[in-house]
Symmetry: C2
Subunit: 116 residues, 2 copies
């Protein structure tokens, strides 16, 4: 292994506006995504903005999972950074399904080059 972690930057487009506006729902789905990935949740913060938008950061033993939603654009931004072997595919698939995202894009990066 030449890197310390892996990061998935996920864009969910054309989500259900009502679901990603709902603070309780976004929190429940994102925490469940962390559990489905087999992450160890340490603590989380979720916040509802006025007039709209939800942000959440979950600190996990393996790094973090974050979400920010823009209901006015039916868009949600997710970052999943892990330094262990987690099932990120299960987490991302769960969020896509629950947010009813029609389109998704993922970029993946290696973090912490051990040769540096």
């Amino acid at each position: 292994m030449n890197h310390l972690g892996i990061q998935h930057i996920v864009e969910f487009y054309r989500c259900s506006r009502s679901i990603i506006s709902d603070g309780k729902q976004v929190e429940k789905v994102t925490l469940e995504a962390a559990r489905l990935a087999n992450a160890t949740i340490i603590e989380s913060i979720f916040h509802k903005f006025s007039p709209q938008g939800i942000s959440g950061v979950i600190l996990i033993a393996e790094s973090h999972l974050t979400i920010h939603t823009w209901p006015e654009h039916c868009y949600a931004a997710v970052d999943f950074f892990s330094c262990g072997v987690l099932d990120h595919k299960a987490a991302i698939a769960h969020m896509q399904k629950e947010f009813e995202a029609v389109k998704r894009s993922i970029e993946t990066f290696k973090r912490g080059d051990l040769k540096e």
Copy 2:
């Protein structure tokens, strides 16, 4: 503007091992970095792992600033995601200086394509 946010993925290499092992110091420097960027801090979580390593997530009104340190590799991983006009350069320069990082790399991404 065609995007909703901008994200900086920062790698700090060859940091001071003692500084990035110190939970209080990492928290202080990272919160100060958010302030220097003119971010609005909503809430933060910092956690010290055993035997080593610090993780912190700061939820800001403009999205998030996160840090994870690996003192054993003198490495710190920083993510700065913002949907407003923040002074990310000031934040990153502050962290580099305070962590005494000899090498830094930054990758920048646009998030939330409004054409999608």
